[in-house]
Symmetry: C2
Subunit: 365 residues, 2 copies
């Protein structure tokens, strides 16, 4: 029997509470933020952090033990097999990159563990097959943290708007690039200076090229196309234009036109023609638009449905704490309902994929 304390009512406990044992793979920005929450002074009911895997486990262990009040009982390891052979219920994959992450997720599901991941590359490339594996195993693969940081857009599109016919997704999905662009806008500084500022705030990595070039947002957009349109779209087929060459002059020009510049991820699906228009690029946005008002590491999305019109959502899109909120939400969902089914969508290929060329927003900078 599964199920936790969230699910018992005061007068009529339907199930016995049971703790959910958690392992974290990777003690970088995201992994350490999750660990600090679970082993810190404000822990989450029902979740017990028991294992952490990191290549530099001996060094990093000391860092957590300085912070975490309950960090002493955690088993640190450098070997994935130790985690696989353990009695953990859920493995949080926070190592990033395609391999070995995808292999480890597959092995974890095969070993009967549920998995929570923040890895957009793995979900964009291998999501459907991993979700199908999870279903066969009677386990869960959850990935709210892979898109939008703490902005719960995976649930909003996959569950909340499942009763609509979604036709368009228009979004800021890369918090790093948004922090850079909104800083350039506010201070008239160069892109390099804005990047340095973002690094100091923990919002940019040493190599931000995947953020600026649009590859990060394209992977996230591919995930949203699967959830919202039931379309299989390889991130490589999404046209991207880099933000790395944006200059202070571009902002001056945009300001004269009554707006500013943001990296937008756009997908518009014409179901009848099976034609998908999809791109990621820095474009002009009007001063009063939702996107112009999105500053710093925030993410934002406008999701258009045939029946309910526009739904908008915003939230903190970058940084360890925001991503940890999304991952811990997924852990709570698994602890609440160990047997829940996370559906593997049946995806089709669009007949046609178009890029930025003939779109009204092609007035790109």
């Amino acid at each position: 029997m599964t199920v936790d304390s969230f699910h018992t009512s005061g007068t009529s406990p339907a199930f016995l509470p049971q703790r959910c044992r958690v392992a974290i793979l990777g003690f970088g920005t995201v992994g350490s933020a999750i660990a600090s929450r679970l082993a810190g002074p404000d822990p989450v009911d029902g979740l017990e952090l028991t294992h952490i895997l990191d290549r530099r486990a001996p060094v990093k262990r000391n860092a957590l033990e300085r912070h975490g009040s309950r960090a002493g009982a955690i088993h640190w390891t450098t070997r994935f097999d130790d985690v696989l052979a353990s009695d953990v219920d859920v493995i949080v994959e926070a190592i990033g990159g395609l391999e070995p992450a995808a292999d480890w997720i597959r092995a974890a599901l095969a070993a009967g563990k549920s998995v929570v991941t923040a890895n957009k590359q793995v979900i964009a490339q291998c999501g459907p097959s991993l979700l199908a594996l999870a279903a066969r195993q009677g386990r869960q693969l959850r990935f709210e943290a892979a898109v939008g940081g703490a902005m719960p857009i995976v649930r909003a599109i996959g569950d909340g708007l499942a009763g609509d016919r979604i036709s368009r997704i228009d979004a800021i999905l890369n918090g790093t690039t948004n922090a850079v662009l909104s800083r350039m806008e506010a201070t008239h500084c160069s892109l390099d200076d804005a990047l340095e500022d973002a690094r100091l705030r923990g919002l940019a990595e040493a190599d931000p090229s995947a953020d600026l070039d649009g590859d990060d947002a394209a992977a996230k957009l591919a995930i949203l196309c699967a959830l919202g349109f039931q379309l299989r779209v390889s991130p490589a087929r999404i046209e991207t234009r880099t933000t790395a060459r944006i200059q202070p002059e571009d902002f001056r020009e945009a300001s004269l036109r009554g707006g500013t510049i943001r990296q937008i991820a756009y997908a518009d699906y014409d179901r009848e023609r099976s034609s998908l228009t999809v791109w990621v690029a820095p474009v002009f946005v009007g001063r009063t638009s939702l996107f112009a008002r999105t500053i710093g590491p925030q993410n934002a999305a406008i999701v258009t449905g045939a029946y309910a019109g526009d739904m908008t959502i915003t939230g903190t899109g970058a940084g360890g704490e925001a991503t940890a909120v999304a991952a811990i939400g997924d852990l709570v969902a698994i602890a609440r309902d160990h047997a829940a089914i996370v559906p593997a969508p049946i995806l089709t290929e669009p007949k046609e994929i178009r890029g930025l060329v003939d779109h009204k927003l092609a007035e790109a900078v």
Copy 2:
């Protein structure tokens, strides 16, 4: 075995598809919108509408059959016992009001049906006990449609932000009142004229007093306090100030101060002191605020968490089609996973409940 076509993957069908049989109680604005979707030209995979209950079934039956291409196979009835004795899997309660709705939901769960409801009064008053009953029965009670129309705030707070510590909810939760206020703002008309306009657009009922007085928003806010703060708050304990006496002059004055007027539902929880500040009232909002930009029947919410900061969400908050999107999303969730657990939260009473008096927004109009 349960589970539907959403869950089978192209290469590895883990389960056999199975249709989910649906009954709708009440063929008013919401019930008829759901029926039109399920029996219309763009049906939802996996959902089959088999029963409709309405006091005036013979008359209303003709209305649906004029629209619905698949309406012929639906069993119409005026007797709840017919629905209870049928083989439907899920009952959608769309009759509104506390009784007999709460009794019928209880009876449906006891008879082994899952339930989807748009009824904020029932969930605000009886939600925890009904959720506990559903859990004991191994069935689901879902209520996304009870708060925010098509804005998926129940999932955003209950699931998406379950990994944060939510401290504040600041929202527009009544689409009717927002349509009235934003029309007064735009056209300088009287409240009565704005109400008449809202009625013509299908956004206000003959008696809009529950909307204007704040009782509707208070019930929704009580539900969000349970989901976000794990607090039991009777809607009757939420201070409300009516919007019914707002005059065109109030808008002129607000405009001079650089803003406008909206009916705001506010809840701020100080966990350490167990002190909840909670109210619904028409208040001044700044011109550039999210709330001033929320016009017509839109709903909007800013949810503040200790770890991820602000999450905002907006969407269509009134009208049959928007509410139908939320209810159908819940039906899809049940069809995907018949055995899913919708947790009955363990609620506590706050030590102190405060109203509008000493709040910074007490600069109410």
